[in-house]
């Protein structure tokens, strides 16, 4: 189609040539719903870290990812100098200590994923494709949970690799690392669900961010304060159950009982009943978030 050097009429010709190519029909394969769902999942996951978006949308997630990872490098360096078989901080303990960073990431990412689609009228356009509402909700939930999991798993992996490089015993660190990954996965599913639900009901992105940060941090704060009061008052069982209040302590409790991680926040689910209650609350929370999301999109057909 090159018409370079075609003489004085090159400008006109070039325009003409572009039109002369004509319309080409597509007769290749058209893939089904599972491909479409996967496509939306990948796109949303990339979007959670600002890939395929304007440059400035990469800043926030990258800063937060750095905030999660940089301290682990320092920890690894310190550990290599001091030696010994243990890292100065446990895997899950590290994540809990950075719960503010995690909460901020969830708060920034969930609205960017769903509020954006609602606010700019993209959802009705999605549904004009061979995609069902349930496909949309599943893809968005999975993408969001994966994005949070990446944020959590990255520093854990650096800690683990650091431990191996400083020749700490693999036999002790590998199980701990795997358990902490399970913890991270569960935390990611819980946090992503809560974040998406709040974001899906607050189409204004700024409001969504504020709402999610406050819900997550206030719950964590209330949980800690109430638990401390209960301990001081000597109500130990009550104190243990207060772990249900915050998603962080909730997941901490479940992970302790189910995966065998060390509890970081004070207390643990009391006995078998406690375990059952913690697990049940987690399952209900996740199922509830999923159900609410489905409800939220049931009526969307466009404005």
């Amino acid at each position: 189609m090159s018409v370079e050097g075609a003489g004085p009429a090159a400008g006109d010709r070039e325009h003409g040539v572009i039109h002369d190519i004509g319309y080409r029909h597509y007769d290749g394969p058209r893939l089904g719903r599972s491909y479409i769902q996967r496509s939306l999942f990948t796109e949303s996951l990339k979007g959670s870290y600002g890939f395929g978006r304007a440059a400035r949308t990469k800043v926030m997630p990258m800063l937060l990812l750095a905030a999660m990872c940089v301290p682990t490098l320092i920890i690894v360096v310190v550990a290599s100098v001091t030696g010994g078989d243990e890292l100065p901080v446990g895997y899950t303990a590290y994540l809990i200590q950075l719960q503010v960073v995690i909460a901020v990431y969830v708060a920034a990412q969930a609205p960017a994923s769903v509020s954006r689609d609602l606010r700019f009228g993209i959802v009705p356009l999605y549904f004009s494709r061979p995609m069902r509402r349930v496909d949309y909700v599943r893809a968005k939930y999975a993408a969001s949970a994966t994005a949070v999991f990446v944020l959590l798993a990255a520093p854990l992996t650096i800690l683990f690799l650091g431990a191996l490089l400083t020749e700490m015993p693999l036999g002790e660190h590998l199980p701990d690392y795997l358990r902490s990954l399970a913890f991270a996965a569960l935390l990611a599913v819980v946090l992503a669900g809560m974040g998406l639900v709040i974001a899906a009901f607050t189409p204004r992105r700024g409001l969504g961010i504020a709402a999610i940060v406050s819900v997550l941090l206030v719950l964590a704060g209330v949980q800690t304060a109430a638990q401390n009061i209960a301990v001081v008052e000597g109500a130990d069982t009550a104190a243990d159950y207060l772990g249900l209040i915050s998603p962080f302590s909730l997941v901490d409790g479940v992970a302790h009982d189910v995966f065998g991680t060390d509890t970081v926040l004070w207390g643990e689910p009391p006995g078998a009943v406690g375990t059952a209650v913690f697990v049940a609350v987690t399952v209900l929370l996740v199922a509830g978030c999923y159900g609410l999301l489905l409800r939220r999109y049931r009526k969307v057909t466009g404005t």
Binding site: I18, I21, G22, Y23, R24, H25, Y26, G28, P29, R30, L31, G32, R33, Y35, I36, S39, L40, E43, G52, R53, A54, T57, R116, D117, F120, G121, I122, P124, L125, Y126, F127, S128, R129, P130, M131, R132, T301, G302, T303
Partner: protein, 318 residues
């Protein structure tokens, strides 16, 4: 609504029978029966006439309260997903994320229609070129003008090479030049691309120019449905414009036995036979009047609204 349309089932682009949609007590679409042949079809109606509701039912996104509709031979109530595989939709409202480039967005929409990644990229490049978006397609869409945004919206509707595109008010917000370009594109989609088009507008004049047939609805009811050629056919009135002395000319022509009416500065003469052109010419020459213009008048689609409930049942299109 009539049943006379039954024979052409296979060739129908869109067919509805008694199609009705109610939202609570509001009836958005009321017993609509049309049978539209492939081509560029205009859907005309004032704001709130039920056009967008109708498009959403055609996409299978809204379930009809009663009645039936099929698009490309597929039932909207039961085969919505298969319809949406073959149909492209350009919504009236804004639907572009400002933080993405046109390329990224159209690729995504093509993939969400089931195209594999590489095909989606190729089709995106093609489609954006066809709608006339070049270098700016790599920039975030937040900074686009209304004209560019409308082009991207059109491109995403075409990205998966549909058999039919539903365009909801595509000329909204465009300046006259942008409007002309958009209408030209719509015409090309129907002719060069070989994709049928259903385009809505509240402006009759613009659809008159690009559509093969037009469906006019008002208050969710069918006013008229026929080919553009029928609607704008020449009428039996000759319009004559002169520079002065129209009253003298009128009097003279009446003496010649013609039915003449004065409408402002124009004379409207009932067409009896071709001889009246000679009579007008001779009359003007004898009276020394300058003849500015003499032509058969065409029906304007706008007259449909004036004529609204006089004729309703004429259903078969094109």
């Amino acid at each position: 609504m009539s049943d006379q349309a039954t024979p052409a089932t296979g060739a129908s682009l869109i067919r509805t029978e008694g199609l009705t949609k109610r939202f609570g007590t509001v009836t958005a679409v009321d017993g609509l029966g049309v049978d539209v042949a492939p081509g560029v079809v205009g859907l005309v109606g004032a704001n709130g006439a039920g056009k967008s509701t109708l498009l959403k039912m055609f996409l299978g996104l809204l379930t009809p309260t009663s009645g039936r509709a099929s698009v490309l031979g597929l039932d909207v109530a039961t085969e919505g997903e298969r319809i949406r595989e073959r149909v492209g939709y350009m919504p009236e409202h804004d639907c572009l994320p400002p933080d993405m480039s046109a390329t990224e967005f159209v690729v995504q929409m093509a993939r969400l229609s089931g195209l594999p990644r590489t095909s989606a990229r190729e089709r995106t490049a093609d489609t954006l070129r066809h709608v006339g978006l070049y270098e700016e397609r790599y920039r975030p869409m937040g900074g686009y003008s209304t004209g560019m945004r409308q082009r991207v919206k059109l491109a995403q509707a075409l990205a998966h090479d549909p058999q039919l595109v539903l365009l909801d008010e595509p000329t909204n917000g465009l300046d006259p030049a942008g409007r002309d370009e958009m209408l030209g594109l719509i015409r090309r989609i129907g002719t060069e691309f070989g994709i049928s088009v259903l385009v809505t507008s509240h402006l009759l004049g613009e659809l008159e120019r690009v559509c093969d047939s037009v469906v006019v609805i008002d208050g969710g009811r069918l006013l008229r449905s026929s080919s553009t050629a029928d609607m704008t056919a020449v009428s039996s009135v000759v319009v004559v414009e002169v520079d002065a002395g129209e009253e003298d000319l009128a009097a003279r022509l009446r003496r010649d036995g013609l039915g003449v009416e004065r409408v402002g500065r124009l004379l409207e003469i009932g067409l009896r036979d071709d001889g009246i052109y000679d009579l007008v010419r001779d009359g003007a020459a004898d009276l020394g009047i300058g003849l500015v213009r003499m032509e058969r008048r065409r029906h304007r689609m706008a007259e449909l609204f004036a004529a609204r409930h006089d004729e309703g049942g004429d259903v078969r299109v094109g």
